[in-house]
Every structure is written in C-alpha cells, then in structure tokens.
Amino acid sequence: MIESLKIGIFEILSRDDVYRVHAATLEVLERVGVRVEEENALKLLDEIGADVDLSRKIVKIPQHLVEEAIRRSLRTILFAGRNKKNDIRLEGKRVNFGLGEGATNFLDCETNTIRPATKADATNASKLADALPNIDFVMPLFTAQDVPKPVLPLHDLDAALRNTEKPVMVVDFGIDATYLIRMAATVVGGEEKLRERPILGMYSEPVSPLTHGKEHTRNLMTFAKAKLPIVYIPSPACCSTAPATLAGALVQSNAETLSGNVIAQFAEKGASFIYGSDTSVMDQKTGVFSYGAPEWMIFNLAMAQLGRYYSLPIWSTGGCSDSKILDGQATLEAGLNLFIAAASGANLIHDVGSYLNFGLTGSLELVTICDEIISMIAYLLRGIEVTDQTLALDVISKVGPGGHFITQRHTLEYLKKEHWMPTLLDRQMRSNWVKSGSKDLVQRAREKTMEILSKHEPAPLPAEVSKDLEDTLKKAEKGVLGQ
C-alpha cells in the first residue's frame, strides 16, 4: 500500500485534453446512447428522465444525469478486511494492490506446463496473498475448474473468505450477486453488519461497445443497494470493440463506466462505485487481447487522470503479462505495468501476478515476484524526505573529506528507514550465489512461495461461522442450479 504518492503522478493528458474527452463522452451518451438489457434498469432510467427506446433497449442519457451521478458518488470508500487491521480506503492518491481472478489454468513453473485450476489453487492463492506484506486486497487468482461451472463464483469466493483477513473482491461471472452478498454477510454476521464492514467487493463489466448486459446490470444495482464496493469497468480492445485511436477508445471506455455509474447512483444514492477501465488492444497479428501492451499502460495513466477529474475512486491493472511461462517477458511486462499503474495514483490495482497467457493462466510464483516489485515501487513513489536531519550536514562535516560513514550513528539510525532491502532479488557475490545453488529468480520465488504455503496459517473463521458459510454456500448452489 502506498499511503499517498509523494512524487508527481504521470499526467499524460493536458487539462484541455481531459475536458475534450469529458465533453466527447457526454456527447456519446446523449446522442448515441447505450444499450441496457436489464428491465429494471431501463425502467429506472426512464423514470429519471433519460431518453429510453424500450423496443431497442437504447438509452440516451442527458448530460445533467451523468453529472448528477458523479455528484452522488462517494469520494472515499471503505473496503474492509475481515480483520480491521487490513482495512483499506479508496480515496485520493492511496494506492492498494491485489490479485486478479479468472485464470482457468495453473502454471507449474518447474515444468512450464499448465493444468486446469482447482479450488485448492484458489485457496492457496488466497493464503499466499494473505501472507504477502505488499498485497492489500485479495482476489482468488484462479477460478475453480473442479466444480460445476454455474457455481464456480461461489467456490472462488468461499476459498477467499476462508483464507484471508484482507478485503475480498470477486468477479461476478454473471451469477446472481445476491448469493455472493449472502456468503459475505454470513462471515460478518448479517447484511446490516456487512454495510458497516464491507469485506466484499464485486468486479463486473459492461460489454463493449456501449452495452450493459442483463446479469451484470442487475448485479451492479444489487451491489449498489447493498452499499458494497463495485468495480464496474469495460474491457474494450482497440480495433475490435473500440476505435483504433487511443483518444477514441478513452471516450468509449469513459462512456461505458460513467453510464454504469448513472445506473448505480440512481439505484442507490451514494453507491460505492469505483471508476476505471481495462482498455487494451487487439493484437493485429494474433487477434489476442494483450495484457502486456504499452497501450494498456497508457490507458491506465489516462483513465486515472480522468478518474481524479471526477474525484472518483479508481481501478487499474498491473502485474500481468502475455507470456505463456514465468520468464523474462513475464517479469518485464508485469514490472512495467505495475509501476505505471502505481504511478498513475489509482486506488485499486488488480491482476498482480494473476494473469499470464491473456488472462488464462495464473502463477503463484509471479504473485510472489510482484510482491517484491510492489515493495520496490512503493519505495520509489514515496520519494525523498528532505529535512535538516536527512540533509545530514552535521554528519557530513563530522566525517569530512576522506573519512567514511559506516560507523556513524546517523548511518545506523537511517539505513533501515531510508533504504530498500530486497527479499527475493539476489545481491550476492557470484561465488556465494554459486554456493547457494545458482538459483534464478523463478527458483527463488518458487521456494519462497512453497515456504509461505507450508507455514502460513490464515486466521480461520470461527467454527460456527465456518459451518454457516458451508450451509449458505450449499443453499446458494441449490438456488443457482435450480434444485
């Protein structure tokens, strides 16, 4: 977690640019409109004065409604942990990091092979995220392939709720979000308690271009009314589901997330809406949606700038890669997009270590490596403290030309405070590195990951809560599967 960025945030749009993107977005929403496939949302939008074509399900949203929804939005959102010490706040330039969810494959980094991900993998990912000091919120990384598909979101959530005390976010995957809320409510002692201690957030998406799907819109409204954090952001790809130009894709992304906010804020004034987008490109040689693309990084910078313009809490992405295995490309892309996302000043940065292979493969070792990268980035973005003490004039004059600072009290006092210490990156002299087994980064990350998983015991749910959660999950399964 970075409490507040000290050094300048990368601002890549001028004030004029920001205003033009905003104005263009309002024009798109007012003149082109969005398709809304959920009946209640259509009714709601009609009631508040949007121009609704019920037969085509096209809603044209007047500018004042978009502006009013922004005014109704929260500037600060509490995202609670099961344990209060893990609470995070989404506001200002506070930067928090978390995993992603949805990888259907587990990468074995010893053999570089993949196999279908299981609930046990989601459990281990949650445990690992619970233990790593630079991970602030938990998404279960994998999505269980060993449970019936319609209920897999319930099992992903179950794995996370049981294995971390940090705030939990899950992807809705179109399931009725009421079930997710019931499970989280079981853990904290009821839905009223859950409003006070919102330990669950939901990630859901509009479908680009400009479409609010039935299930996702229903879930958006459900979470809005429950006063729980909602990330409702599109994932358009330039040249396929968005224009080729970066500015055009920005306008569309902005229109998609802001029209979601209109639905949320009029369903419930003061809904905990989190703004952003996962905008990238369709690769022109392979057709894939790239996770390592510099275009995504630049969209992260621009969307964070727009989010701050609206004073909305901001979602972003980092720590992911297009590589198929945990190699140089993976660490290069993950390191760079993590840094850019952090330097953008976004409040929730997801997909840390989760996504390789275009979101299909998850690697626990990459999570561990990203934890080290985040620690380094957090150090960088804290900047330099300039005070009389840190300017060190006394000790400079005491040591004088030709002396050394090793044994100065000033050195001992500040070395731990001012310097970053690696826990995974290697700084041994070569002979010692050889003696300790000539291990590369991936091998060391694997050992550290295995050690954490064998030693770390997340605080368990109390026995009766655990039993209740099991019952709630079973009921939800029956509800979903219609038994």
Partner: protein
C-alpha cells in the same frame, strides 16, 4: 552467559560506543577483570558476526560493533593487562591497502570482520609502501599478511609485496592473502598468494581455513 556478559552484549548491540565504554568502566569498578571483559566482548562479537552472515544484522552494524569493541579493548582493557596479549587471539593479521591506492572502506570492513572473528589485527592503513609490509612482517611475525587493491592499476603492487617478502626470506613464514574488486582467483594464483576472498565473509573463511581453525 554471565551477568557482565549480558551487560556487555547489550551495550554492544546498542551500537553505541559511549554506552559500551560506560558499561566496561562500571564492570571494572565492580571488580570484574579486564580478561573477563575481553572474553565477554569476544563472545558478543562472535554472535554479531554470525547474525550478519544470517542476514539479521547489516554491514554498518557489524562494522560499528567491531570498531566499538576494538576501541574499548585497545584503549581501556589492554593497558590494564600485565601481559602484552589482549585476548586469546585466533591468530594475527597484518592488513593494508597497497601503495598508490587510498581506498580504505573495503579494507576497513575486512579488518573489522577479522577482529570480530577473534583475530588480532594490525591495520597499516592505506597507500602502504612495500617496505612497510616487509618490516611489519619481520617485527610482528603475523600469521597472515592481507593486501587490498581496488584499482586495477595498483593490483601489481600485490605481486611486488610478495616478491619483496621472498627477497627478505619472509615469504615462507607467513600466509599472504589478497582482496579487492579487480582481484580474481586466477590473479591470486598467478602472483603466488595463498588465497583470495571475494568479500569480507569469504576473507574470514579463507583465513580460518589457512590457519586450520574450525568454524
């Protein structure tokens, strides 16, 4: 560990020389012998060295503890001992940076680590002339002569010293070790040194190996 041992260790781990001096004086006033205090300091230093190797202490802390202990032993405890020895040293080491080279820090860290590991250290400083190494070897009869060179241009001075020791029939009475960032194993072999350590920890291990001291 004795009570006085605990007090010495605590003062040493505060990395505060003034506190260590004060604790030492108090212990002497309380009737503890200088030898007892030297032993306590040596034991505490050994622990600091071990913790550094495990990554629990940092380099600056290791060197600071070594320097503080050295000062207390040489200025406050050694003068009180009737016999000339300071402590039951594991061996004695003459160390210096070769002529033409004024780099002090690396050599200083190694010297400090030798002391911490229980060796008697005679530090000749920097820019040490060839003759000075020879003279000191003749007079002090150390077990080890250790030479540092940071510049590749001053590296040949390490060979000069070894040749001078040979000319003065001293080479077979002493082990010679070399260090410094441009130094390699090959270089050490080429000039006929007895060994090379890549860093300070390796240097201590090397000396212990040469003198058949178990870890």
């Amino acid at each position: 560990m004795s009570k006085v041992g605990d007090a010495v260790k605590e003062a040493l781990l505060a990395f505060d020389q003034d506190k260590l001096v004060e604790t030492t004086k108090k212990a002497l006033d309380g009737g503890h012998s200088p030898q007892e205090l030297i032993d306590a300091l040596t034991a505490a230093l050994k622990e600091v060295g071990e913790k550094f190797e495990k990554g629990e202490f940092f380099l600056a802390e290791l060197v600071t503890a070594g320097e503080a202990a050295k000062t207390v032993i040489s200025e406050y405890l050694r003068p009180l001992l009737k016999k000339t020895g300071t402590r039951e040293a594991a061996g004695s080491i003459v160390i210096g940076t070769v002529a033409g080279d004024i780099h002090d820090i690396g050599k200083g860290i190694v010297a400090s680590m030798f002391f911490t590991a229980g060796f008697e250290v005679i530090d000749l400083g920097v820019d040490v002339p060839v003759e000075k190494f020879v003279e000191t070897t003749r007079e002090k009869k150390p077990d080890i002569v250790a030479m540092s060179a940071l510049l590749s241009t001053t590296l040949p001075m390490q060979r000069e010293v070894i040749e001078a020791l040979k000319r003065n029939n001293l080479r077979d009475q002493v082990r010679v070790i070399v260090g410094g960032s441009p130094v390699t194993d090959e270089w050490a072999k080429e000039i006929g040194a007895d060994g090379y350590g890549e860093d300070a920890v390796a240097g201590v291990k090397l000396v212990k190996k040469l003198l058949n001291i178990s870890e």
